[in-house]
């Protein structure tokens, strides 16, 4: 797991030459999705191949967000030779660039890689941002993602989500004997790492708040149970010692607890386990199926799904199990609730008219919106800024699954790059 530990390699960010903007002319409203993506020019950074690679990753990040349209470098009239000299803004206005990013990559004497960049408002003729990042050279992609995050945040006013990872289930083989392996990759699909060897099924992995621990379900030894995977040590450990199936794990916002489902005599109820003391508290006691627990970001409530009313629907209860009440009334069956990190919405899977869709609604069930239209879309997970979702899309006829992403507005639906078929994505928080 040494490669994963590299993530902890120190990354330094320093503000320099930062000029506060006089106007807020350059701005993208995230809530409007990609109606009109902002044209932005990102020439290759000075610094040879490394500089070109970093700029390439930044361009791909911003294009993928749907909020930006990076301009073709072939259209550029100017070549950036010195990032400390203000650009010729007129030459960038001619090609309709509203934003411009200039940067350089420098190999330092200590062997580390430093990247400086500046974000310019082409029409306002002002610098909006100037930062430098330093890291070991093999972490150059992380530097690029961090720069993308800073650009996104400066222009949209929302935190970025590019310097994040996805834990997911990699799928190979025919549907009747699907091999499923636990895997992690960067948010853009780069650097995939397989954590289990496929000799047993794994399902529904979820990160803890530091992105160092994964809770997931494993059929190792023919006993389906919730496990923890420590990315730093590579250690796997069964969470608790229960006589029957445990499944559907998800961390509490502070990472100290795991809400999960215990099956006993065919009945499934929701429990919460303290990760350190291993103390267990039962939250539901109903002969119905109760599963899919997800904490609100303030930890005061838990959304879950239950068929206690006759069909699978979404409920919300207090974190101690009291006051469980149904919130989904928008028709069809509704399950897999996941509370937005912003707290303002719950994403879920709606099963209606013979298909599965991803939807979002307020935590009280109001303002329901269906945001995808696949054959079988299920299991949403939120970007840490609460603006983008990933989910599993399965094609008809056992042809396998892929991870897709969509803005919470329902726009900008895209397939997420992954090594082969993939399912059950869970988004990490922003990596610290």
């Amino acid at each position: 797991m040494n490669r994963i530990a590299l993530i902890c390699a120190a990354l330094l960010a320093a503000v320099f030459a930062y000029v506060p903007p006089v106007s807020a002319a350059l701005h993208v409203d995230v809530t409007q999705g990609n109606i009109q993506p902002m044209p932005i020019a990102i020439p290759d950074f000075i610094g040879g191949r490394q500089g070109a690679q970093i700029a390439g990753v930044i361009r791909a990040d911003l294009d993928r967000s749907g909020l930006f349209r990076t301009l073709d470098p072939k259209s550029f009239l100017d070549q950036i030779k010195d990032i400390n000299t203000p650009p010729q803004f007129a030459n960038w206005r001619v090609i309709n660039a509203q934003g411009l990013v200039t940067g350089q990559a420098v190999a330092q004497a200590d062997g580390r890689l430093r990247a400086d960049f500046r974000l310019w408002d082409v029409y306002g003729e002002s610098q909006m941002l100037g930062l430098e990042f330093t890291a070991t050279p093999e972490n150059w992609r992380r530097i690029a993602h961090m720069i993308s995050d800073k650009i996104y945040e400066r222009i949209t006013g929302e935190k970025g989500y590019f310097d994040t990872r996805i834990v997911f289930v990699s799928e190979t083989g025919p549907a009747t004997k699907r091999v499923k392996r636990l895997a992690v990759m960067d948010e853009d699909g780069a650097n995939p790492i397989f954590l289990t060897n496929g000799s047993y099924l794994v399902l529904t992995p979820r990160f803890n708040p530091t992105a160092q621990m994964i809770a997931y379900m494993s059929y190792a030894g023919g006993r389906p149970r919730v496990y923890l995977f420590d990315l730093e040590s590579g250690r796997q450990e069964m969470l608790g010692n229960f006589p029957n199936m445990t499944f559907s794990p998800r961390f509490s916002p502070d990472g100290n607890k795991v809400v999960m489902t215990l099956e006993k005599g065919g009945n499934s109820d929701i429990y919460v386990m303290d990760v350190r003391t291993r103390g267990v508290t039962r939250l539901t006691s109903d002969p119905a199926i109760d599963t899919g627990g997800s904490y609100s970001p303030d930890s005061s409530q838990i959304a879950f799904e239950s068929d206690r009313g006759g069909s699978q629907q979404i409920y919300v209860m207090n974190a101690d199990g009291s006051n469980a009440h149904r919130v989904s009334f928008g028709g069809g069956k509704n399950g897999t609730p996941v509370w937005s990190p912003r707290g303002d919405m719950i994403a879920f899977t709606k099963q209606a008219s013979g298909a599965f869709h991803i939807g979002v609604m307020r935590p009280d069930g109001s303002r329901e919106r269906i945001i995808t239209d696949g054959w079988e879309d299920e299991g949403p997970t939120w970007a840490p800024n609460g603006r983008v979702l990933m989910f599993t899309r399965t094609e008809r006829g056992g042809r396998g699954s892929q991870i897709w992403s969509v803005d919470v507005t329902g726009r900008n639906e895209r397939r997420v790059q992954s090594p082969g078929s993939a399912s059950d994505p869970a988004w990490s928080p922003l990596i610290q």
Partner: protein
């Protein structure tokens, strides 16, 4: 629209008979043998195509290891109770055998809900076997949710085949 279990047994037996043609045709039984075959467990297998009484194959082919469920249901149907009655009789005949009942679902449910539904189905099979006198300690359950379909098309025919409870031998069966 679903495949009747009894018909499946006949087909399975017919396939076994065909396969066995080049060696020694086994009896095309569609019900468990009336009594223990002479010399069972003493002479051992004569040919590979013979089904050893008390073996996992015996349960699968001659008794019937699978029952099916309606969409989003886990209640047993009358025709499937017959299959489970034969299973209970077989388990009483071979008291050293332990089994695991697998609960499976079709793809028309979310992953975690289907894990819970599969557990309900496996447990419904177990409870019925226990009600027929099989010791509870001999029957384990496991849910595979929608993870192990036998039929991969997205059609009602396939979904009906995938909504199933399968009794599999864990230990104690005669080996072939």
């Amino acid at each position: 629209m679903r495949f009747p279990t009894d018909l499946k047994l006949v087909v399975a037996a017919a396939i076994v008979a065909l396969v066995g043609c080049t060696t020694k045709p086994p009896p095309a039984t569609e019900a468990p043998p009336a009594g223990p075959p002479p010399g069972a467990g003493e002479t051992g297998p004569v040919t590979e195509s013979n089904i050893i009484p008390g073996s996992a194959e015996d349960l699968r082919v001659n008794v019937g290891d699978t029952v099916h469920f309606e969409y989003d249901r886990y209640q047993l149907r009358d025709e499937d109770r017959n299959v489970l009655q034969r299973q209970a009789g077989w388990l009483q005949k071979y008291p050293q055998v332990r089994v695991t009942v697998e609960g499976h679902c079709d793809e028309r449910g979310t992953r975690e809900y289907n894990l819970a539904l599969g557990a309900r189905r496996a447990n419904a099979v177990k409870e019925y076997l226990v009600s027929l006198g099989v010791s509870s300690g001999r029957v384990d359950t496991i849910s595979y949710g929608k993870e192990r379909p036998v039929c991969t098309q997205s059609s009602e025919d396939c979904w009906a085949q995938n909504r199933r409870g399968v009794t599999t031998v864990t230990s104690g069966a005669a080996s072939s």
